[in-house]
């Protein structure tokens, strides 16, 4: 016991307490179970990124020894890293869970979505159309995602249970208050919910948890050699999905990815970190945000807020 003038502080660790990762895990599992209890047709939005991989891992724990009682939904832009797709298929087989794929190419072919043109064209915004169509086609009433509040300022205001109107839109000014752990998932016909079980996790929590639980990840998160270009301060993988400008010379770089989006918009970081331990050290000392490598967030100060209102992840 340390006694200072006006406070008494007990520094001994108490018997009944959870460390931060176990408390976050317990909270996320409670939320995932609550979704299954409150909704008729939930699903997990699976991007192939580390956050949705952690979410799938938590879902497995929540229902063991039963299987995960909802499908994974992957919105395939056609511009994915090949590593993401093969990892996804392995994981789905291993968990014995149903996979639903929504294809952006199909939305384009059907005339539902229009491909962007120009040098920085991407399919990022088109995903929203395919996502909302897929949710509707499968009558999904609760779509769980791995978004975290520490990622971005618009996400800092997100609820665990986030109500969407019949057009899939988010109204940040009119959200339901969320009190204690009493989650209100009631809705009208045609409306749905987005649910974010790992809202309170930070990037560091995710990596520490991945290490503690020994969760497998796609290889692109670890340091590797790749042919890249430097465009507007972002290191992009050279692929068939980007149009090289006249002055751009692809070169081999030692890189890894901090997030996993589409190939043409996800920036890599120069890194030698090829193990989870090295990644954790790298993140502890890094001075830029995770989404700082995302070209999709660089389309203006409110790029995320605008997309979220429209129904984006």
């Amino acid at each position: 016991m340390i006694e200072s003038k006006d406070m008494v502080i007990d520094q001994s660790l108490p018997k009944y307490y959870l460390d931060h990762l176990r408390e976050l895990e317990a909270e996320a599992i409670f939320v995932i179970r609550e979704v299954v209890a409150q909704f008729e047709k939930p699903a997990l939005l699976f991007s192939g990124g580390k956050d949705s991989i952690v979410l799938a891992h938590l879902a497995k724990k929540a229902f063991y020894p039963a299987r995960i009682p909802f499908p994974l939904i992957h919105i395939d832009t056609g511009h994915n890293f090949p590593e993401t797709i093969s990892f996804r298929d392995q994981l789905v087989a291993q968990l014995g869970v149903q996979l639903i794929v929504g294809s952006v190419q199909e939305s384009i072919d059907l005339g539902r979505a229009k491909e962007e043109t120009g040098a920085n064209a991407s399919r990022n915004a088109l995903q929203t159309i395919t996502l909302l169509d897929t949710l509707e086609a499968h009558k999904i009433d609760a779509a769980m995602g791995g978004a975290r509040r520490d990622e971005e300022k618009a996400r800092a205001k997100e609820r665990f249970f986030s109500h969407r109107d019949e057009f899939g839109q988010w109204d940040p000014k009119n959200q339901r208050p969320e009190l204690w752990n009493l989650f209100n998932g009631r809705k009208q016909q045609g409306e749905h919910f987005r649910v974010f079980p790992i809202s309170n996790w930070t990037e560091m929590d995710v990596w520490q948890y991945i290490k503690e639980e020994n969760i497998a990840l796609p290889s692109l998160y670890f340091s590797h050699e790749r042919e890249c270009i430097l465009r507007d301060g972002v290191i992009l993988a050279n692929s068939a999905f980007i149009k090289l400008r006249a002055d751009e010379q692809p070169q081999m770089m030692q890189v890894r990815y901090r997030t996993c989006g589409d190939m043409p918009i996800t920036g890599a970081v120069i890194s030698e970190a090829d193990t989870l331990d090295k990644i954790i050290i790298e993140i502890a000392t890094t001075r830029t945000t995770e989404r700082g490598t995302r070209a999709d967030d660089k389309r203006g100060e409110t790029a995320m807020e605008d997309r979220k209102k429209a129904g984006y992840f």
């Binding site: 460390d19 209890a37 039963a66 520490d150 205001k157 000014k173 208050p177 009190l179 009493l182 009631r186």
Partner: protein, 415 residues
């Protein structure tokens, strides 16, 4: 790395430096990234400031920036080698009560900011009353802007004395005082050289060390069943697991338990998660429990010990915070949500309304308007298994939902 999480709310009125304080904590604890800082530096410059306005770090949505106000609770994160912190940053004006109650519901600690130049103001009373009503276990009163009163010991002690006199009317168990300057950084993360007369700890030191392990009830065993896990696989043919989160007490395999409402008595066969046995389960763990007897249990049921059970009633006396534009009048039908149970209920009567500035009871209120707090009597269509909010914040809390619009109408603390 094994750290506890401390969840805290920050409450303050407009201009008392709340955003600057949060910015300071994030900045000094190095939770701010280079790209975020550059954005804030650029905005500060654009606004014509000759310093970096740390309060801009907590800027949120487009309409908030346009109007220069905060609309909703925002959550922020930082960590030190000792603890991980979750801040519920609640705005000081619009929808004030609703937002603060929301942020307070999950908090271990509340920071109440007082402007040293102004002393206690109406908002200080309101913040403190809500912290006490929501039973936030720890309160830190930060007397801010000490730099603007020449770091005066007298000013500090006067405010402390005023606050203590006021707080004696409330039920706050642990109150600490820290004189700070969020703008200059005095006593936030590092000790102030300007206030050698202050011998207490800095704000961050207190946040890192305040004893929070007993914030949960580890005595009265409560396990509301969330759902039943039945794998129906060859391997687990007859498996029946009860999934849920422990709301109180410590459960072990071999314990004799009673299931409510059926009243059946059985014994815990196992407590596990992901197939791994858990020796002792306590709040806020999420677990799966199996019993030795095959009895009918479903979502909304409560597992407790045979010799220690929650109260059981269809009549509840509740302190209610009304959060809806449309006022509450007696005989309003609602959906009541308590632990994992949901049922139709009626607010029968409004006993009194509290004037949250003076703490006076207004007995012939008639209705509760938006952001009003009052005592009501609720009749539920099914028995509720509850404890007083004072003894358990989980089994003592309810929310009310509109049957038609599905909106969350109110937060309630059972008396």
């Amino acid at each position: 790395m094994s750290n506890q999480i401390l969840r805290f709310t920050t409450a303050g009125s407009v201009d008392d430096g709340k955003s600057t304080l949060i910015g300071r904590l994030l900045y000094d604890s190095k939770a701010i990234f280079q790209d975020q800082l550059e954005a804030v530096e650029a905005s500060s410059k654009k606004k014509g400031f000759d310093y970096v306005d740390l309060s801009l770090l907590t800027d949120g949505l487009k309409s908030e920036r346009e109007q220069g106000i905060t609309i909703d609770v925002a959550y922020r994160y930082f960590a030190t080698p000792k603890r991980k912190f979750i801040i519920a940053d609640t705005p000081g004006h619009i929808q004030y009560t609703r937002n603060m109650v929301t942020g307070a519901s999950t908090a271990n600690l509340a920071i109440i900011l007082i402007d040293a130049r102004k002393g206690l103001v109406e908002q200080t009373h309101r913040h403190s009353f809500i912290a006490s009503l929501l039973q936030i276990p720890h309160v830190v009163v930060c007397i801010n802007k000490m730099d603007l009163v020449d770091y005066s010991e007298e000013v500090y002690h006067q405010i402390v004395a005023d606050y203590q006199a006021f707080a004696s009317k409330l039920e706050v168990k642990d109150v600490q005082f820290v004189p700070i300057s969020a703008l200059k950084g005095d006593n936030v993360v590092s000790r102030s050289e300007n206030m050698p007369w202050y011998e207490g700890s800095t704000l961050l030191y207190h946040l890192e060390n305040v004893h929070i392990a007993s914030d949960y009830n580890h005595i009265d065993c409560r396990f509301p069943v969330q759902l039943v896990i039945r794998p129906h696989t060859h391997e687990h043919q007859d498996y029946r697991g009860y999934a849920g989160r422990i709301d109180g007490g410590v459960f072990k395999a071999g314990d004799e338990v009673k299931v409510l409402p059926s009243g059946f008595v059985s014994t815990i066969k196992s407590i596990e998660l992901d197939g791994q046995p858990i020796e002792e389960a306590f709040a806020p763990m999420s677990v799966t429990m199996t019993l030795t007897d095959d009895i009918d249990i479903s979502r909304g049921d409560m597992i407790a010990r045979t010799n220690n059970q929650p109260e059981q009633s269809q009549d509840l006396e509740v302190m209610l915070c009304w959060m809806q534009q449309r006022a509450l009048s007696p005989r309003t039908k609602v959906i009541l949500k308590h632990t994992t149970k949901e049922c139709v209920a009626m607010v029968k009567d409004i006993q009194y309304k509290v004037d949250i500035n003076t703490l006076h009871k207004i007995s012939d209120a008639g209705s509760l308007g938006m952001n009003d707090i009052g005592r009501v009597s609720i009749r539920s269509s099914q028995p509720v298994f509850f404890d007083a909010y004072k003894t358990n914040r989980q089994t003592g809390s309810v929310i009310l939902i509109d049957e038609q619009t599905n909106e969350t109408l109110a937060a309630g603390m059972i008396l």
